[in-house]
Amino acid sequence: MQKIGVFVCWCGSNIAATVDVQAVSDALAKEPGVVFSTNYQYMCSQAGQDMIQEKIREFGLTGVVVCSCSPRMHETTFRKTCEKAGLNPYMVEIANIREQCSWIHKDKETGTEKAIILGRAAIAKVQLNAPLTAGQSPVVKRALVIGGGIAGIQTALDIADAGFPVDIVETKPTIGGKMTQIDKTFPTLDCAACILTPKMVDAAQNENINILSYSEVEAVKGFVGNFSVTIRRKARFVDETKCTGCGLCTEKCPQKKVPNEFNLGLDNRRAIYIPFAQAVPKVATIDPNYCTMLKTGKCGVCSKVCTAGAIDYQQKDELIEREYGAIVAATGFNPISMDKFDEFAYSQSPDVVTSLEFERLMNAAGPTGGTLLRPSDGTHPHTLVFVQCVGSRCDGGEKGKPYCSKICCMYTAKHAMLTREKYPDTDVYVFYIDVRTPGKNFDEFYRRAVEEYGVHYIKGMVGKVVPENGKLKVQASDLLGGQQLHIDADMVVLAAAIEPDKSARPLATMLTASMDTNDFFTEAHPKLRPVESPTAGVFLSGACQGPKDIPETVAQAGAAASKVIGLLVKDHLTCNPCVASSNEMMCNGCSACEKVCPYGAITYIDKDFRGPNRTTLRRRVAQVNPAVCQGCGACTVACPSGAMDLKGFSNAQIMAEVDAICK
């Protein structure tokens, strides 16, 4: 039997005005197990806390019930008070007689009656409370950043600056991501490569950063502070340590007909390639789908020309396993496929391009050397039509993405402006539904495109594009002008919606991080915890969380890094002790709890038990990792045998509360 002390607070007149506190403390004194009961003006005051501590010592209390305000207000206060007096903090229960009693009732009699019942329920619960100790788990002081775009690079640089080692895993042969393919950035029009490549070099030279390019995350185990990650280092058939990046092999390779993904297939590369001149690491990679040597065993030109002897046709995928304290997802985005939007004739004419392809056509390092030429015949286009919201803001499902892709209005304004600036003889039309330019200097930028550069902005959507005699017949509506327009365009540029990278969903499954229906990672709280995933130790950076432009991505990357640093500076993590635990004798190994756990905190092990006649029985039983469990209790209800219970909110405790209330 517990020795329980009851402390009824007046809260000045907040409680005492509608609840007869004396009657409450008198009534509760008669409850079984209660050895002391009193009331006091302000229980949370220093004097009140001192009294609680004194009575704990005097009566050797094993449980404390405080009838006061909401536990959301002062539960921690009273727990600390009791802890200082030598009582386990989880032996304290609060009966909420202010917010849920005195403040909502006017009649003193009913108020008092209800307060007594609430007090009884709390006493009944304390009777079954058990001392709980918050566990500790160590923190591995290394972070993993998945994705090597601008988000990943910035996060890694910030973490490395704080002195912690970081690994960047990038699936492409080079880091840099989408930003390497962009020509200029809005609204300042500075060159993307000029601001990005120094950062890539910084990342490569930073002692704390280890870049694992051409690699993928294969499996993730563990929990916050103690992740164990298996990384597949894909065979690039070139020894990274030997290759000097001279590029001789990429010039001599006889296989010239490989679509160059860096230029989105607008030109070709060789089977052995370095994606672009500023690639980091600057190491050649052999594309096994096109290399004649790897496919037929006959060629070997690259191996002959390589003076460093770096080519290794026998190289195999390698699996490495490393420990991390924190993981940052920075998997980024891709433009959606244009297959479903054939009304814009993307598959019928090479002169219909997506905005990212247009970016390459404008870029000095692109397939046309920076001169805007039509991909079909290499002539200079005179009339350009930009179509916004292609696949964005759709009804969802088959039609396209339900969200606004956020960046298209601005980059379309940028494209239109740059086109008019470089080629004043052009006519540029932008068809928009709404122009959305919330951002610093964004609307000014868009207005500049209209006012200074004479870009024709037309409210309305393009209905269809038909290639005819080398022209693109564009039929569109001009809603404000009240007419249907027919434009003979030379090029049509589609502002394709962006979607999370395909690797994000399998990664989320591995990380047990949650995702929304669009495959964007969800944050722990949309307002207050925007860079944390609900899964402890997993952080979000960049467009994998939602559409973002570069400044926002960099800001979020820095925020994610600061959260990671905040985690890695700790030597130990204190866990919430109110977690689930399974009774192994009752567990039947059905896996129901494992399936409902949103955190992957439950695993199954085979364990030996003593059977009859000195035999051993091997049974499959559930085990809860207390460092990962957040204490929601979903598993306790899913468990058919009742083996799973939640500490601090056990079945018996809640049942006792129910009984006390219904008595």
Partner: protein, 146 residues
Amino acid sequence: MQVKEEFKPTIVAFCCNWCSYAGADLSGTNRLQYPANVKIIRIPCSCRLNPMFILRAFQRGADGVILCGCHPGDCHYTTGNYYARRRMTLLFSMLDYLGIERERTRVEWVSAAEGAKFAATMNDFVETVTKLGENKRLEDLRCKSE
């Protein structure tokens, strides 16, 4: 007849710690009245509510049981309230089968900002249960005599 007028049902309200319990606190902070018959039990998440607890409440003489949780999609534990919703759907159809009026049980989503909704819900629920009268169907008389 007079007995019926004085009937004050016993209502057990299970509130999740993150949304509905905070919502209940808010209705207190805003001094929004609801009947004293409602007694709140705090649980970490609506998915912690074992259907057994509801049966136990009816067994011990409760006249109505209500579960409040975060709005779908807003669960602190991401998916807990979906589990709760599914489980309660099953339980309620079983209670229906047992002859417990469907109106005696309810699931309501109350966010931490919806103090007014909490009070309104409780007022409405108490009124509904009061009209139904005492619950005798599952009551365990052995418990009552103690």
